[in-house]
């Protein structure tokens, strides 16, 4: 990994550790709070995942590793999409009492954002698979199906963050692909981009519960948006009271004393 990254990560870790040691509940905050445990439990895994990406998928990665990554993502996208679609039609393959269960993830925002990440990772491999004449049809079909499932996941998650992320990555990736292309291929790519954008936006406006969240017609959509503004206001109050912060995983306790949301 680059030295600057290791230095920056080490500095961030040192600051996080110091903030926990001078916090209100160092013991609990060191491990991290339920349900994320973003302390000694989870943070090493996050750093480990970045390290794996850098070592196995960095600039010198063999083509076989990149192929493995794309195949794994395609398989995960199909699994996530299948459960998402089942839940969207009212089935509950995994027991839950939530209105928006989140498919194979913890909540609907995670579901939508993961779908958008899968779209981001599959858009270019799908384009390349269809442009590469020697690519097997099964591989093309599998990757394309996976991309459709990833887009469907974003749509039926009804997550505004997920939809925004998917539209953004579509725009960025296609601009990066279109700019160096020949004029004939450029026209083709612009058409594909417009079609993909229409599928995403049109799909979101066609699915009733996604449309009502997007247009702010559902009470839950207004509530969750207002909730975020309240959290930001509470965070500003906590920060005004303690300019050095409350340490990693310390906001919950500090906010329960200051909260304006109760």
């Amino acid at each position: 990994m680059p030295r600057w990254f290791v230095a920056a990560a080490s500095a961030a870790l040192a600051v996080a550790l110091l903030s926990v040691l001078i916090s209100a509940a160092p013991g609990v905050q060191l491990w991290g709070r339920w349900p994320r445990y973003e302390g000694l439990v989870t943070l090493p895994v996050y750093f480990g995942a970045v390290w794996v990406g850098a070592r196995l998928l960095g600039p010198a990665a063999p083509a076989a590793s990149l192929r493995t990554l794309v195949r794994a993502i395609a398989t995960a996208a199909v699994a996530l999409g299948l459960v998402s679609l089942l839940e969207a039609v009212g089935a509950r393959p995994i027991a839950t009492d939530l209105a928006r269960p989140g498919s194979l993830t913890g909540n609907a925002t995670d579901q939508g954002v993961l779908g958008a990440i899968f779209c981001a990772m599959l858009i270019l491999p799908v384009l390349r698979a269809w442009a590469e004449p020697r690519k097997a049809f099964a591989e093309r079909a599998w990757l394309s199906t996976a991309l459709l499932f990833a887009a469907a996941t974003v749509i039926v998650s009804a997550s505004r963050a997920g939809l925004l992320a998917a539209v953004t990555v579509l725009g960025i990736l296609m601009v990066l692909e279109i700019v160096p292309s020949t004029s004939r291929r450029r026209l083709h790519l612009v058409g594909l981009t417009a079609l993909a954008g229409m599928v995403l936006i049109g799909g979101a406006l066609t699915v009733p519960f996604t449309r009502s969240r997007l247009l702010g017609a559902s009470p839950l959509s207004t509530q969750s948006l207002e909730g975020r503004f309240i959290f930001w206001s509470d965070a500003a109050d906590v920060l005004a009271e303690r300019p050095l912060g409350v340490g990693v995983s310390g906001f919950l306790n500090a906010n329960s004393r200051n909260s304006t949301s109760n």
Partner: protein, 79 residues
């Protein structure tokens, strides 16, 4: 012809007579490590959708546990 430490082939000279520097081939990766890298990558991606049945467990800990196993496998692959 020798330019800045590299041998550049002249168009008129025979390629067979010119000394050439061949880039060293990367050492072949042992099959065990290659398999560990492949399984590590699959598990790392799978960790994003992994869950255990019952309440709230679609959340973080099962995903984190599988990601940790993937990181250990990947570390074997690059050891």
């Amino acid at each position: 012809m020798h330019v800045e430490g590299r041998f550049v082939m002249s168009r008129t000279a025979s390629a067979t007579r010119m000394p050439q520097r061949v880039a060293p081939r990367p050492a072949p990766i042992p099959p065990g490590r290659r398999r560990a890298a492949t399984v590590g990558l699959w598990l790392l991606v799978a960790s994003s959708i992994f869950f255990l049945p019952d309440a709230f467990v679609r959340w973080f800990l099962p995903k984190d546990a599988l990601a940790a196993i993937a990181v250990v496998l990947a570390s074997v692959a690059v050891a």
